[in-house]
């Protein structure tokens, strides 16, 4: 039984009963969560920026940092956990991607992160079945192997299952 806490740009997977995987304070970052109902393993990555072209060398060292490199590396990891034959059965969920309080919407890193992830998923012929993104709230997401529930918490709000 272990609790895996991911920092920015990190990815990980859990599969044993009692295991939990989580990431804190997403801000404009987006967490991609992949659940594999067949192997009962759960993968997650904490994506900070949309495109790896900002810093290709960094992307090699920390592929989870960028949406376009995070999706392939997370899928690769899920395949390593035994998902190779059932990619279509994988359940993908997204959360995070918050914005700042700005009516001009100057910064859209949160929105661009979510869009870049969707594009990268689409290239793998996949899509997210649930998402809790946008707004001006910073989120923390926790997933337990025991029930597979993706629980999103934010200051001053009731926890939300997505």
């Amino acid at each position: 039984m272990s609790v895996v806490t991911l920092g920015i740009g990190e990815y990980g997977v859990v599969k044993n009963p009692g295991d939990v995987i989580k990431t804190h304070a997403l801000g404009s970052c987006v967490a991609i969560i992949i659940l594999d109902p067949t192997t009962r393993s759960i993968g997650m990555v904490h994506v900070a920026l949309p495109e790896s072209k900002v810093h290709p060398a960094r992307a090699e060292k920390l592929p989870g940092y960028f949406a376009d490199t995070a999706v392939p590396v997370l899928l690769q990891m899920m395949k390593g956990m035994g998902a190779a034959g059932n990619l279509k059965k994988l359940v993908v969920k997204l959360t995070g991607g918050a914005n700042v309080m700005d009516k001009n919407n100057t910064f859209n890193i949160g929105k661009r992160n979510a869009l870049a992830i969707k594009k990268a998923l689409w290239q793998q012929r996949m899509g997210a079945v649930a998402e809790e993104v946008g707004g001006t709230i910073s989120r923390t997401v926790t997933v337990a192997v025991d029930d597979g529930k993706v629980v999103v918490t934010s200051p001053g709000r009731e926890p939300l299952n997505i």
């Binding site: 304070a25 940092y65 309080m101 700005d102 200051p155 001053g156």
Partner: protein
């Protein structure tokens, strides 16, 4: 406007209970805040403060910095670390528990304030380098380190008010978290931070930076560019998850930073990444090998 829920005078009075900075740290801030300083000035201030010297040498010789041989002089340490990291060491080691305090009024954990301020400081320094010389990177770094120091004081008075503040901001009864602080306590963390900085006898430039970091348009003209730099750095830190608790992203953003900082969107993302890389190594050297963002 909500009824005042806390005696404002009591908050102002409590600023006096915050321990003073060490004389060395105070002097360092005043040298840097005055602008136009040389490395030799910084070395001299540190060498005159034995505790500060010991801390600087401890950090430079730590595993996180990874030098192959021992450094024994302040001069050499400053050359390796650069002036901004020295400021970080001076403040972290001489402000007692102020930066490490839990912030119950923001639901911030122990260490959140120090991590947030360090991220903002590094971002402010990098942004200042894109202001065509209008903002000194050393001053921006220092103002960034100090910008939220008022939270260490005001937080204790807000514990009971958290749900109401969040509701009022959420229901748009208040324009943002700062307005809510003001209307319920008669003051806010910027004003209290300014009062504390005044008590610590900081240069006016740093005090103005603290006072105006959420409302940079209202800063006096001579420090307005710096106020925008801190404002933008603070916003980027919250977007990257380096926040101090429930107030994350709950502040109105002023996009007029573009009048002072010359960055395109792509440049901004590159800058965020550079800041993150620098933050990791600096945080390890200053705070030890703790997990970033740990709660």
């Amino acid at each position: 406007m909500a009824e005042l829920r806390v005696d404002t005078r009591e908050i102002l009075e409590s600023v006096k209970n915050v321990p003073a900075l060490s004389p060395g740290a105070s002097q360092l801030l005043s040298v840097i805040g005055g602008g136009d300083y040389k490395v030799a000035d910084i070395v001299r201030v540190i060498e005159n403060d034995s505790a500060l010297t010991a801390n600087v040498l401890k950090v430079i010789n730590s595993a996180a910095i990874g030098l192959r041989r021992e450094v024994n002089t302040v001069h050499e340490a400053v050359a390796y670390l650069g002036d901004t990291k020295i400021i970080g060491i001076a403040l972290a080691s001489s402000s007692g528990d102020t930066f490490n305090k839990e912030l119950p009024g923001y639901h911030g954990s122990r260490g959140d304030l120090g991590r947030h301020c360090l991220w903002v400081a590094i971002a402010a320094r990098e942004l200042a380098r894109n202001t065509d010389g209008k903002v000194d990177p050393g001053i921006a770094f220092t103002a960034g380190l100090l910008h939220d120091i008022g939270k260490a004081v005001i937080s204790d008075f807000m514990v009971e008010l958290v749900p109401e503040i969040l509701d009022r901001v959420g229901n748009v009864e208040e324009s943002d978290h700062l307005e809510a602080e003001r209307s319920m306590m008669g003051t806010d963390h910027c004003e209290i931070g300014g009062a504390l900085a005044g008590r610590w006898q900081m240069p006016m430039t740093l005090i103005e930076g603290i006072l105006h970091h959420h409302r940079p348009a209202g800063a006096p003209e001579e420090v307005r560019a710096m106020a925008y730099v801190i404002h933008l750095a603070d916003t980027l830190a919250m977007m990257q998850g380096f926040d101090t608790g429930v107030d994350s992203l709950q502040y109105t953003f002023d996009p007029a930073y573009t009048d002072h900082v010359n960055l395109k969107s792509q440049g901004l993302e590159g800058l965020v990444l550079d800041v993150q890389i620098d933050y990791r190594s600096t945080a390890e050297a200053l705070f030890g090998d703790e997990q970033e963002n740990e709660e």
